[in-house]
Amino acid sequence: MGVKKEEIVFWLERVAEVMAANREYLTELDSAIGDADHGINMHRGFDKVKASLPEYASGDIGNILKTTGMKLMSSVGGASGPLYGTCFMRSGMALAGKEELDCADLLVLLKNCTEGIVQRGKPNPGDKTMYDVWLPSVQAYEQAASENGNNVLASLQAAVQAAREGMTATIEMLAKKGRASYLGERSVGHQDPGATSSYLMLQALLDVINT
């Protein structure tokens, strides 16, 4: 069972709904250690993606992801715009021409998202960023896929489980990147908003594939 193009489109629409629903929650997390705009910015960005999806949803998966990245890049602002923008643009370029994703393709997607974050943000594990969600998630996916004979659903379940744990683990971390880093010790005890929006994105992908 692969992931069809329609499911990728559903996923992006679903992320827009999830960001709208979590607008206040993400902003609240950000107000504790950042500048209180993460929910507002993510909502604005994915709202724009959702509004313009009908114009580009007929392209191949690579094109859809790449265009989504460009939309995010030009509408989110802050640090999340270039980070998520690079994520989607890179995975889109890596999956050019695809009409359906198999288990290995989905790994390409997750890997390129993660590498996009590294390229743009230069994070290290444990810096209290979205990387603390993506890195364990892609590792869990790869390991699960090799153990379960490339089962997409089971591998993605493992990835989302790792994403959730990664997100929760940011609570105890001391921020070393972004505006939260200026708080030093005071950043401990708060869950990272970028890690949270990343988890929500991966959970939305699982939800779409699982239905």
């Binding site: 890049m73 030009s74 602002g77 923008g85 880093s181 030093g184």
Partner: protein, 353 residues
């Protein structure tokens, strides 16, 4: 929240529309947002940008002798790469584009992305950071020092050099030199309210002040009790003068490798016998009368330390909405920097004759 606004979602665009009407010599582009000179010369294009709410910076510094273009983001939110890319393309004249970027994670990432897009078009580009806020102690465990008051002085000096015909590398070297010779520190008497948030960014008691405040209300070094202007000026100035050898690793664009290269940069010391430009800035809500009281004490401390203030700038140039408070910037200067500081400039927010 009491503000002169119609709709919180339209504050940036309505400000731009007003600016366009008031300054027909500028081109104000709405989609995407950028402000640039209607006519650009045969010179290096100097472009800056950042979140709105710091006016007159940056849009108010577009004009002869300073910036060629500026990209305003939402209030306190970085602008996006498409704005910077379109703005750069609008003002570029074959001599290359220099981005002057305040060191905030969002601004840096968006400008880096924009520089890659501009470079991909075959346009010579460089991006120089300003990170002068001594409130941030180290760069190892944080995103590094923030870009604050020195940005204004950098835009004036580098803008003048570009106007004088210096090439891209010379302008970039000069911007780096300004950054390594300047330091700032700010303080807040009150918070400010971002329109979209609707409530104050932070809480400050009637008798409390924040020393080392960032221009978006980021926490500083310490929360202190209210003091006299002399005491506050002494705290800020003493910290600036005591600051030595700040070291950080930053990224600059390598046009040959077509990629980013890391560079380690170290601040120059400020010592007795040095000459400085002294800049006393209002955070937005503090009146000029109080800034002069700050300057009075600042001059006394510098004189006692053997540092000569050869030029000064006093007023609201890099603000944080309606926040009350001030910042002090000291830039060590030589003949080269002074020459460009003294060069004429004609912009909505800064005029030099």
């Amino acid at each position: 929240m009491k503000k002169l606004i119609n709709d919180v979602d339209n504050v940036v665009v309505e400000q731009l529309q007003g600016m366009a009407l008031a300054h027909p010599e500028l081109k104000v582009n709405i989609d995407p947002h950028y402000i640039c000179r209607a006519v650009t010369g045969d010179k290096v294009a100097v472009v800056s940008g950042g979140g709105s709410g710091h006016e007159p910076m940056h849009g108010g510094f577009v004009g002869y002798g300073m910036l060629d273009g500026a990209c305003p983001g939402e209030v306190f939110t970085s602008p996006t790469p498409d704005q910077m890319y379109e703005c750069a393309k609008a003002v570029e004249n074959g001599k290359g584009v220099l981005f002057l970027v305040k060191n905030y994670t969002g601004d840096v990432m968006n400008f880096e992305t924009a520089a890659e897009l501009v470079a991909a078009e075959g346009i010579a580009v460089q991006s120089i950071l300003v990170d002068d806020d001594v409130a941030v102690k180290d760069s190892l465990y944080t995103a590094g020092r923030r870009g604050v008051g020195l940005t204004v002085l950098m835009e004036k000096i580098v803008g003048a050099a570009a106007e004088a015909g210096c090439d891209l590398d010379t302008c970039a070297d000069l911007a780096r030199k300004v950054n390594l010779n300047g330091r700032s520190l700010g303080m807040a008497l009150t918070s400010c309210t971002v329109p979209a948030a609707g409530k104050p960014t932070f809480e400050l008691g009637e008798q409390e002040i924040e020393i080392g405040i960032g221009i978006h209300g980021e926490p500083g070094i310490e929360r202190a009790t209210m003091k006299s202007v002399d005491e506050i000026t002494e705290i800020l100035t003493t910290r600036i003068l005591a600051d030595k050898g700040y070291t950080r690793t930053i990224r600059e664009w390598d046009r040959v490798a077509n990629d980013w290269v890391e560079k380690e940069l170290v601040d120059e010391d400020l010592n007795s016998g040095d000459q400085v430009i002294a800049f006393v800035n209002s955070m937005g809500g503090t009146p000029l009368s109080e800034l002069y009281a700050v300057y009075r004490k600042l001059d006394e401390i510098c004189t006692a330390k053997g540092i000569t203030i050869v030029r000064n700038l006093i007023g609201p140039y890099i603000t944080s909405l309606e926040m009350q408070g001030c910042s002090i910037t000291l830039l060590k200067v030589d003949e080269e920097l002074l020459k460009y500081w003294d060069a004429p400039a004609q912009t909505p927010g800064f005029v030099a004759r």
